[in-house]
């Protein structure tokens, strides 16, 4: 068997270097798209958060103008403030309890068709929003495109409020002598409250 002629080591080394794969920095749903989608999916990934955010829209629709749009304006700002606290490492006590209580209380307010003064309604919603934001802030994963993550996060939150407002508009559906729309809206409050009680039980267990 004939042996092959020797190849200079430097040539082998050079060829190996030339063929070596470079680190691939692109990923599916990487930097940009991944950041947006990750932020967008965060608020809708937990039913406790979804319940409360939809409930804000429902309650706003029940209270009517100007609460119908002031509550969804206040919630994202206060939630982002909570997110800021969470990202900064500021501790808040009983966050999970606060989140569960937000669904219970908002559900009860809708069920009872309770009309608080506007300032009080803003305080209630703003206070609970801080708990939701803090929970999200502590769970946010680094390595994403921060700006796109934040945009996705806020848009998803706003859309959840819009869903609540959309559902809440059934109140204008005056059917039958017992005002079916108004009753149906109050009925959604019972669903929110029941969900909140479940999460409250889970938080305490």
């Amino acid at each position: 068997m004939n042996s092959l002629p020797p190849v200079p080591t430097t040539r082998v080394l050079g060829l190996a270097l030339w063929l070596s794969p470079l680190t691939v920095l692109a990923h599916v749903e990487g930097d940009a798209a991944g950041g947006f989608l990750s932020g967008f999916s965060h608020p809708i990934s937990g039913l406790d958060h979804v319940l409360a955010m939809v409930a804000v829209g429902l309650w706003g629709a029940q209270l009517g103008a100007p609460a119908i749009w002031l509550l969804p304006v206040a919630f994202p700002i206060m939630m982002a403030f909570g997110g800021l606290l969470g990202l900064s490492g500021v501790e808040l006590p009983a966050v999970e309890l606060g989140i569960a209580l937000s669904a219970v209380i908002l559900g009860a307010l809708i069920l009872g068709a309770i009309r608080l003064p506007l300032a009080a309604a803003l305080v209630v919603v703003g206070l609970f929003a801080v708990f939701h934001g803090h929970a999200h802030g502590t769970e946010m994963t680094p390595g994403q495109s921060a700006i796109l993550y934040s945009i996705g996060f806020v848009i998803a939150t706003g859309l959840l409020h819009a869903v609540g407002i959309g559902i809440g508009l059934i109140e204008r559906w005056h059917l039958g002598p017992w005002d079916a729309g108004r009753l149906a809206l109050r009925g959604t409050g019972s669903i929110v409250m029941a969900g909140g009680l479940f999460f409250l039980w889970s938080a305490l267990a």
């Binding site: 430097t10 050079g14 270097l17 470079l22 304006v73 490492g89 700006i147 934040s150």
Partner: protein, 195 residues
């Protein structure tokens, strides 16, 4: 001399770290595309334009002049002086301020609106100077980006000024609250060191 290995090594592909996206249409459009693909800069243009539109026609005219001129001027100055601005926290603070002003339905006097637009343009222009320095046609690319700022500002302010229906004015203020919320989250990321 190991010429072949050296030649092979010289042809090694290396990751490109250029900041300007190549549009294939020349440096002017590279600059335009750079702006259109920078969500932080776009959000600032949106925030200034919404506030200017909310503040009325006179304020909108001031903002439409001040924002692109300050943006382009600052980018050119940063390019000439080789500045690496590092103004991320100022950008975020401005974004929160602009968002809160829109959400609160504040109408600014034209001179104040113009100054705020100029400050925003200045900060964002300086922050982007390093990106334009990566190419060899920096000033032309800056012109492309500033032109994009001008067109976007004109379009958004014109739309915002012409809003009449109550629900559209409310939608504008909701948009402002979203911008402020995004700014606050960005501040959180910055404080965490990952923004």
């Amino acid at each position: 001399m190991p010429v072949l290995p050296l030649a092979l090594v010289a042809t090694l592909p290396v990751p490109a770290h250029a900041h300007l996206v190549n549009s294939g249409l020349g440096p002017f459009y590279n600059g335009t595309l750079h702006l259109l693909l920078s969500p932080g800069d776009l959000l600032a243009v949106l925030a200034v334009s919404l506030l200017a539109g909310q503040s009325g026609k006179a304020a909108a005219r001031w903002a439409a002049i001040a924002l692109p001129v300050a943006w382009g001027g600052a980018a050119l100055a940063g390019l000439a002086l080789g500045m690496a601005a590092g103004l991320g926290s100022v950008q975020v603070a401005l974004l929160i301020l602009l968002g809160v002003l829109v959400a609160a339905g504040i109408q600014l006097p034209p001179a104040v609106m113009g100054s705020l637009a100029a400050a925003t343009g200045l900060v964002h222009g300086l922050e982007n100077a390093a990106a334009f320095a990566a190419g060899d046609s920096g000033p032309v690319a800056v012109a492309g980006a500033a032109a994009a700022v001008l067109v976007l500002t004109l379009l958004i302010t014109a739309s915002a000024v012409s809003l009449r229906a109550a629900w559209t004015r409310i939608a504008l203020r909701v948009g402002g609250s979203w911008i402020a919320a995004i700014g606050m989250l960005m501040l959180g990321w910055l404080l965490q060191g990952t923004g």
